[in-house]
């Protein structure tokens, strides 16, 4: 996977996260859940977004907060699942 494709995934995730919050900027490593900037439904909204956008299935084995806690973690998760590219 090229660096551009990885950047594309990261920015697609960032765009979604920012669109779901009241903030306009977010660093790659900031913990979304600890910052308190997301609501109680966000975990499932993020999961649905990942499944739809990157055509991957989030299953039991993927239920680990480490996979979704930040933009960087979510990007790495998507890459691990299938090196997916934003549809």
């Amino acid at each position: 996977m090229s660096a551009d494709e990885k950047t594309n995934i990261r920015e697609t995730v960032r765009h979604f996260v920012l669109g779901s919050t009241a903030i306009t900027q977010l660093n790659d490593d900031e913990n979304l859940f600890e910052l308190g900037i997301v609501n109680s439904l966000f975990a499932v909204q993020l999961m649905t977004f990942i499944e739809k956008t990157f055509q991957i299935e989030v299953g039991i084995d993927d239920l680990d907060i480490e996979n979704f806690k930040s933009i960087k973690a979510t990007t790495a998760f998507v890459l691990r699942k299938n090196g997916g590219v934003a549809a």
Binding site: A22, T24, S40, L46, T48, L63
Partner: protein, 384 residues
């Protein structure tokens, strides 16, 4: 709204309405008085595939799209909110297993659920935790070897708890939210029927007590720690969608009964329908019905397309339709006057059932809390 449907969806909707007219509508008043459904109607639902509408054919389900699921709930909601609640809870548990169950759990339960051989109950609410699900007190703990869980606690207001053969129970395991499958008849499981509900009288609500109930650790669905962040929200999503569409059916019932009454009830030399105040009630009801249908259709389509915004659309649909049907039911009784205040009048039952729509699957107030957060968060994006 029917112009938005595909031909197969229209055909199925007609089939659902005919089933309801023949097998449900003539009996709902009796079921409401008896505070139960006979086993025969549950068998019929199972045989017709109506309990398996969203389960994939791999497990004996119909694998229908969510627009069709919505139409099914609307058609049933026209006649019986309580019976539609069975479609709700069966779907909530089945879809949870489909998404988060192990191969063994799916293999063991999805086909019997699809066929209606087993009725499921979604056991989340507790006496001290209704809207505040993070306050669950039902406790799981491992035995020394870790192979078995011991469960203690209580659940309340559990739809179809009186007849369910399978319970999806939410609680905490060492402070981590967890969900677990339990079968009826297990030692320590005590079921107390709840009678004399205001509405949904035949939905078989129950209080469930767990006294040192032992289940294998393999009964856990998903993973400890994720039951409230991933399992419950996904299940409640389907519950809200079902309830919203059921409320549309009930709203249609209010509207149709009111229109018929207005067209036939004579006062002097004119019908009630000629009276401006009555016409105003009906105008509002009709407009609300149209809006509710479109909101539910949009929510179902978003779910079919697996869009992240389905969450918001489903919240909006449930919020709007549940409030609209309370208004409609109140106005329907008002239109009918004293005759609408008698238990044998359909609109009297609509009035009672409508109120519960604002409480189950998330109260109106919880919806306002969630939606306000979602909408206010959009401000940052609007500013650019």
């Amino acid at each position: 709204m029917e112009t938005l449907l595909t031909d197969p969806q229209k055909t199925r909707y007609q089939e659902f309405k005919e089933f309801v007219a023949t097998n449900v509508q003539p009996f709902v008043e009796q079921w409401d008085r008896d505070q139960r459904h006979p086993a025969s109607i549950i068998e019929q639902l199972g045989q017709s595939g109506y309990l398996s509408s969203t389960i994939s054919p791999e497990y004996g389900g119909k694998g229908w799209d969510f627009v069709t699921y919505g139409l099914l709930n609307e058609a049933f909601g026209r006649a019986s909110s309580a019976l539609t609640d069975l479609l709700t809870v069966q779907t909530m548990v089945a879809m949870t297993l489909l998404k988060w169950g192990t191969d063994k759990q799916r293999g063991q339960w999805l086909t019997p659920l699809a066929r209606g051989e087993v009725i499921a109950a979604f056991a989340l609410t507790e006496p001290g935790a209704g809207s505040a699900i993070e306050s669950l007190k039902t406790e799981f703990r491992h035995t020394n070897n870790g192979d078995t869980l011991i469960l203690n606690g209580q659940k309340k207001w559990i739809s179809y708890g009186q007849v369910a053969g399978l319970f999806l129970v939410f609680g905490k395991l060492k402070e981590k939210p967890v969900a677990c499958l339990l079968e009826r008849g297990i030692a320590g499981l005590e079921i107390e029927p709840i009678q004399e509900m205001l509405g949904f009288k035949s939905a078989g609500l129950a209080k469930i007590n767990f006294h040192d109930v032992e289940v294998p650790s393999s009964s856990i669905v998903g993973k400890p720690g994720f039951a409230l962040s991933h399992l419950a929200p996904v299940a409640l999503q389907y519950g809200r969608l079902s309830t919203a569409c059921s409320a549309v059916g009930l709203l249609r019932a209010c509207f149709e009964e009111s229109v018929l009454y207005a067209a036939t009830r004579q006062i002097g030399d004119r019908t009630v329908g000629k009276i401006d105040m009555i016409r105003t009630f009906i105008a509002k009801m009709g407009a609300d019905l149209g809006a509710a249908q479109l909101l539910c259709y949009a929510a179902c389509r978003a779910e079919d397309e697996h869009l992240p915004e389905a969450f918001t659309k489903i919240l909006v649909a449930k919020y709007y339709t549940s409030r609209a049907v309370v208004r409609a039911a109140s106005d329907a009784v008002q239109i009918h006057g004293a005759s609408g205040c008698q238990e044998s009048s359909p609109v009297a039952r609509y009035y009672r059932d409508a109120k519960l729509m604002e409480i189950l699957e998330g109260t109106t107030q919880i919806h306002e809390q969630l939606l306000s957060g979602l909408f206010v968060d959009q401000a940052a994006q609007l500013k650019g």
